[in-house]
Point group: C2
Chain length 300, copies 2
Amino acid sequence: MRPTIRQLEYLVALDTHGHVGRAAAACFVTQPTLSAQIRELEKHVGVSVTERVGRGIAVTAAGRELATRARVILQAADELLESAHRSETELTGPLRVGAIPTVAPYLLARVLPAVRERHPSVQMHLLELRTAPLMAALAAAELDLGLMALPIDDDRFDHEVVLVDPFLLAMAPDHRLANQSHVSMRGIRDETVLLLEDGHCLRDQTLEICDWAGAQNDGGIQGTSLHTICQMVAAGMGVTLLPSSARQIEARDGTGVVVRHFSDTKPSRDVALAWRKPAPAAPLYEELGRLMADRLAEAA
Amino acid sequence: MRPTIRQLEYLVALDTHGHVGRAAAACFVTQPTLSAQIRELEKHVGVSVTERVGRGIAVTAAGRELATRARVILQAADELLESAHRSETELTGPLRVGAIPTVAPYLLARVLPAVRERHPSVQMHLLELRTAPLMAALAAAELDLGLMALPIDDDRFDHEVVLVDPFLLAMAPDHRLANQSHVSMRGIRDETVLLLEDGHCLRDQTLEICDWAGAQNDGGIQGTSLHTICQMVAAGMGVTLLPSSARQIEARDGTGVVVRHFSDTKPSRDVALAWRKPAPAAPLYEELGRLMADRLAEAA
DNA sequence: TAAAAATACTCCATAGGTATTTTAT
DNA sequence: ATAAAATACCTATGGAGTATTTTTA
């Protein structure tokens, strides 16, 4: 049987003071109480920790050894308490964060430094999941947080919008639309719009906007990632809608991809941080969402 | 308030199984018992460690962090228990050993390796004290063990003789007695016998033997250590009684000191390991004494 | 409706207290 | 005679049980 924390406290006090009465006073209990618990400890661990010497007691070598170990345990318990108190105002421990693939590579790197600064003792475990499995994992508490695009059609979740992410039109530099500084929605009417494979919310958003604009898309060509799509765009296989957040990475100089803003309507997606409504850390999650939004706003 | 060990066990079980019922079963308690203690823990540390998810529960990030710390604590508690059980058959922890100055430099080095082998997890703190303060410190439990010469005239102590240590006559190589292989007691009648200062039991033993043999000693010359005495012997200032145990160090080639056995009577001192009679580890001390005796016997 | 956890309650083991005795200075 | 710890004995808190309700898939 493991000793009680209380017994370890008494043992440490006894070793520190070498005097039952003073040890008891230091623990705010009476002398017989401490004596009894020390006796109990000895019974459980099978070793004498005290020896009567003169009209006082002495702690045995074995007792001193145990007291040393007990001090380590009490120290660890105090650190546990301190960690718990930190958890009230700060995220701690392993935080499992899921992000959709069209967000993860472009936004996480920008917000993580600020998150680490605000919550130094959190360990982030990052996972890439498409919207549906991400929400399932979030609902099952296999994830603590999800970073995805609105709408989140599930009242088990709360969210905080971290970024309004306008769509740009991405094309090869020699594309016929590339000589204009802006592109109108009507202008993409006859273009082939490349799409991500099924399950990506960005695919659905793109489809919706293109349907509205009357654009074509070749159902046969699908990319497994936005990065792949952009390489197809660079190869002149078509155009695509690119979230602004991906612009720095996917349409920077040398990629063979250029972007143009839309002139008339301004299509965009809302990226949000989501969590289960009843999560005890909900207030911290909400604050974290605002922190991310601030961080992304000042980066723009 | 620090959490109880029991609460930490429950938290770890909960984190391990992710299921209150199974966690309770693993702890051999009922589900409401574990739930109640988890609730208690949450109240004391001020943090929610569980969250209802579907028809089960999930451990929060803060809870996982606390569980990780709890595992460390339980591990340390188990090691404390194991250490305690070791203490039943083996000396552990800081053992404070006092030895008289005419024994410490000559015997400790010979027995320590065997002691370390038999009791690997003991930390020896060695102290040199003359007989009277050594016995006082031993009685006050400021020391656990004493290594000194018999007789030990105090029934608070038990002892085990570790070595019968014959006295040899030490002299300069050109001394008139050095040309004989043995020296008779009568032969030292007119010699100046050099003495240690007051408080050394070896001084008293030497005096007693010399009185009996009728030898002189110059009350004005006293050495602060046996080593000093031997250097005085080498300088031709007189002879002294040297314990055999010190021979290897004090009368080896090049020291300017040679020794001769006595031919008729064989004076000697008994060196013993002593401890307080009621010391809980007394059986181990006794065994240790026998171990030392064996080690010294096979060295001779 | 069935599984899982929370709640309500009862009980008793034990940590803790007071009073006293034993032990050693 | 006094200081210190052990012992005896009583009390009450809280850890653990059973029974039941709530929640949700």
